[in-house]
């Protein structure tokens, strides 16, 4: 129970469904208040008190469990390491994967609990053979199946999402108000909970360090300088501060961040179009495809609030036997960065996901090089 409206209503519904429920608030920092200040996000004293008050009204016991060390190692430090490696991680997915449905789940199961209930907007169904499937929520605007795409069959077996069938967030708020929860109109949390003021760039600069480096075009020609590669994300247009305009006068976008040589590669918008994405770290959320080594039709989603795009996916094996999930969107994807997660859907069902290791541009660089030589 984060102290927000969704987890409070989820807990209440679990009680209504006849379960024996205990409220648990996750302490993710040893110093409450150093994370988000105010009434949003996680880990403020106010949030802990809000969660406790909701538990009081529901009539369930309430405890705070400390996962601060693991959260720092697996989410915060991982976030820094990923950015340092020039990738764009999603810390909320990492938290679901490593904290809520791993550390918390393991402790809960070993203490005798049967499931972890959260206020995520997603649905779990069971097929005729008893296999669990993860699906989008009824409320598409609030659907959070993307950030749960990292869950495996084993984790889904212990997960319950009582808000999945609710048509809208407004209904959840109305229910919270009817139940007398003080958090009924509490603002939604967004941004990253461990970056209190939302200034991700400044927060990273303090931890990664900012070193001046070159901004290059795709042919390798230097266009300008930047003040720390980590501050750039693929697809970014603003803040490049390149003096000379492009030959065609069109705006330039960040195409690639190369932390090893501290360079940022920019180019025209078309060059952001990605024809293929692939990742070796992939999982299936439930039963895998019958033959994942045969191409199959699906939809791919690359951000929490991006639209899904029709695609073909396949698990390919290289000469050394290493597998990767390769996804080919039917129309090019825009603004994909390594480190992001590609979640693969079939209809409303989450089939699985991979962390993107590499991308293939829809606009090959060779013609540009030829052009430059000419």
């Amino acid at each position: 129970m984060s102290g927000g409206v969704d987890s409070a209503v989820a807990a209440a519904r679990a009680v209504d469904a006849g379960h024996d429920v205990v409220g648990v608030h996750l302490a993710l920092s040893r110093m409450p208040g150093t994370l988000r200040t105010g009434s949003r996000g996680c880990c403020t004293i106010e949030d802990s008190m809000d969660a406790q008050r909701a538990a009081n009204l529901i009539g369930i016991p309430y405890y705070v469990w400390d996962f601060s060390e693991r959260f720092k190692a697996d989410v915060v430090d991982d976030f820094i390491a990923e950015y340092s490696a020039g990738r764009t991680p999603n810390p909320c997915m990492r938290c679901n994967e490593r904290i809520k449905f791993s550390a918390l789940l393991e402790k809960a199961v070993s203490l005798g609990f049967d499931a972890v209930v959260t206020g995520h907007y997603a649905s779990i169904t069971t097929d005729a053979a008893g296999n669990r499937e993860l699906h989008r929520a009824a409320a598409w605007a609030k659907d959070q199946s993307y950030v749960l795409g990292v869950l495996t069959t084993e984790q889904l077996a212990y997960a319950m999402f009582p808000l999945g069938a609710t048509p809208s967030k407004a209904e959840v708020r109305a229910e919270a108000a009817a139940r007398g929860f003080s958090v009924a109109s509490k603002p939604d949390s967004h941004d990253i909970c461990f970056i209190p003021d939302g200034d991700t760039r400044g927060w990273l600069a303090e931890r990664v360090g900012a070193e001046t480096g070159d901004i290059l075009d795709r042919t390798g020609a230097k266009l300008g300088e930047h003040e720390g590669a980590h501050a750039y994300t693929v697809g970014q247009r603003r803040g490049l501060q390149i003096g000379t305009p492009a030959a065609d006068g069109k705006p330039r976008f960040v195409l690639e961040v190369r932390p090893k040589d501290n360079t940022v590669v920019v180019g025209p918008k078309e060059a952001l179009d990605i024809a293929e994405i692939a990742g070796s770290r992939f999982t299936w959320a439930g039963l895998p495809p019958l033959n994942s080594h045969m191409p199959f039709e699906c939809e791919v989603q690359i951000r929490a609030h991006a639209d899904p795009v029709p695609a073909t996916a396949v698990v390919s094996t290289d000469a050394a036997g290493a597998e990767e999930l390769v996804v080919t969107p039917h129309v090019p994807l825009n603004g994909v960065a390594p480190g992001q997660t590609a979640v693969v859907y079939v209809g409303t069902r989450v089939l699985g996901q991979c962390t993107i290791d590499r991308t293939v541009s829809a606009v090959p660089v060779e013609p540009l090089l030829a052009e430059a030589r000419a």
Binding site: P32, D66, R70, A103
Partner: protein
């Protein structure tokens, strides 16, 4: 029926204290008012002060009522610090947070220098370390502060020797007696006299709290020697020797006095009764979990009679607490921060234990209302809770759900 074994956190109010509280609340009159009703309230207040003073072996004028034990401790430490030119504060590790957070605040804001004194493995301050700290530039020392009895493990400090050392080196000493009060005999005057303290130094301040002895929450007291120099923290109407301004809470003081009047005279017999229950509990725990470590002084003369403190190897204290709570038994892991996060026992860490042991701590504290049935219920609930908590283990870096 819930079994309450967390008497060190707070203990049930006695019927005497409740009825005294209710009766006194019906009396109108500010004890500082000059009229007859004010005088009547003043009389109740001063009679309460006399009663409390009698249980602490001090003069009534030396009892300064405060809002709670924490305020008394803040008043003593900050007040003594600001009243002297020295900047060093001598304080052992493993103190209550009321002391730790106060001296650390002084360190950050008032340039105080904290000499953290080591504890031995039983939780007792090392007198040789105290003496060597006192002998090093005594003029730079503002005060010495320490617990009379440790609130987690129950170990008693050798207060007579400590007071004698403070007296010999001419340093003011504050004792936090919140956990000790009501469980071991306390005589402020006797300690001062035996230590041979000159005016203003040696034992000059001692903190207690009413709700630890069956009085109400919301009132504590600082025993402050009339010879002590101390800066007030709260300014206003000049009540209580100008040391603690603010309208005095007659009803709470009357209830506090009633509780102390009931508890202190009966202490010897009650301590023996509780000590026997504690022995029964420890024997039951050791039989159920042979690997358990009992912390603190094994000698009954060296600890509080009703405190049993354990380390359960391979378990997290908060898992045990949760499972016992589910079984209807209320115990403690020691301290939790404001957001309710269970913390590794800083007392065990100060006693030289490792982090894993400090996370495996469980404090069971007995009191006036504890019965054999309570102890037996705890011992009966423990094996299943221990087995499950041991399975849950110490939160590791990896889980079976990791990949």
């Amino acid at each position: 029926m819930a079994v309450y074994l967390d008497h060190a956190a707070t203990t049930p109010m006695s019927d005497t204290a409740i009825s005294a509280y209710v009766d006194a609340m019906a009396v109108v009159g500010n004890p500082s008012s000059i009229h007859s009703q004010g005088q009547n309230a003043r009389r109740l207040l001063e009679e309460a002060r006399e009663q409390v003073a009698a249980t602490l072996g001090c003069d009534p004028i030396e009892v300064v009522f405060t809002g709670n034990g924490t305020e008394a401790i803040n008043l003593a430490i900050k007040g003594l610090f600001w009243a002297r030119p020295g900047t060093r504060i001598l304080v052992p590790g493993g103190e209550h947070h009321a002391t730790i957070d106060t001296v650390e605040w002084l360190e950050r804001h008032e340039d105080a220098v904290i000499d953290w004194l080591p504890l031995d493995e039983l939780g007792r301050v090392r007198l040789d370390a105290l003496e060597s700290a006192l002998a090093t530039d005594a003029a730079s020392i503002a005060l010495v502060s320490m617990l009379w009895a440790n609130n987690e493990v129950g170990t008693l400090q050798p207060v007579a020797e400590i007071a004698a050392l403070a007296a010999r080196y001419g340093i003011p000493l504050h004792l936090d007696a919140v956990a000790a009060y009501g469980h071991v005999p306390i005589s402020f005057a006797d300690v001062r006299a035996a230590s041979g303290a000159a005016a203003g130094v040696g034992l000059v301040a001692l903190s207690v709290s009413a709700h630890k002895i069956g009085g109400p929450v919301g009132i504590g007291a600082l025993v402050l020697s009339r010879t002590a120099a101390l800066e007030a923290l709260i300014h206003g109407g000049g009540q209580q020797r100008q040391v603690r301004s603010g309208t005095q809470d007659v009803a709470a003081a009357v209830s506090f006095a009633a509780a102390s009047g009931a508890v202190i005279p009966a202490m010897e017999g009650e301590s023996a009764r509780v000590e026997a229950l504690r022995s029964r509990l420890v024997a039951g725990v050791v039989a159920a979990v042979p690997s358990v470590v009992v912390n603190g002084d094994p000698d009954a003369a060296g600890r509080l009679p009703g405190t049993a403190h354990f380390a359960f190897p391979g378990c997290q204290g908060d898992s045990l607490l949760f499972l016992l709570d589910a079984a209807g038994v209320s115990v403690s892991t020691g301290s939790a921060c404001q957001a309710g996060i269970p913390e590794p026992s800083h007392v065990l860490l100060a006693m030289g234990r490792d982090d894993e042991t400090a996370r495996s701590a469980l404090r069971v504290t007995l009191g006036r209302t504890t019965t054999e049935a309570d102890v037996d219920a705890f011992v009966a609930a423990l094996p299943a809770a221990y087995a499950q908590a041991a399975r849950a283990g110490l939160a590791g870096r990896t889980t079976s759900f990791d990949r």
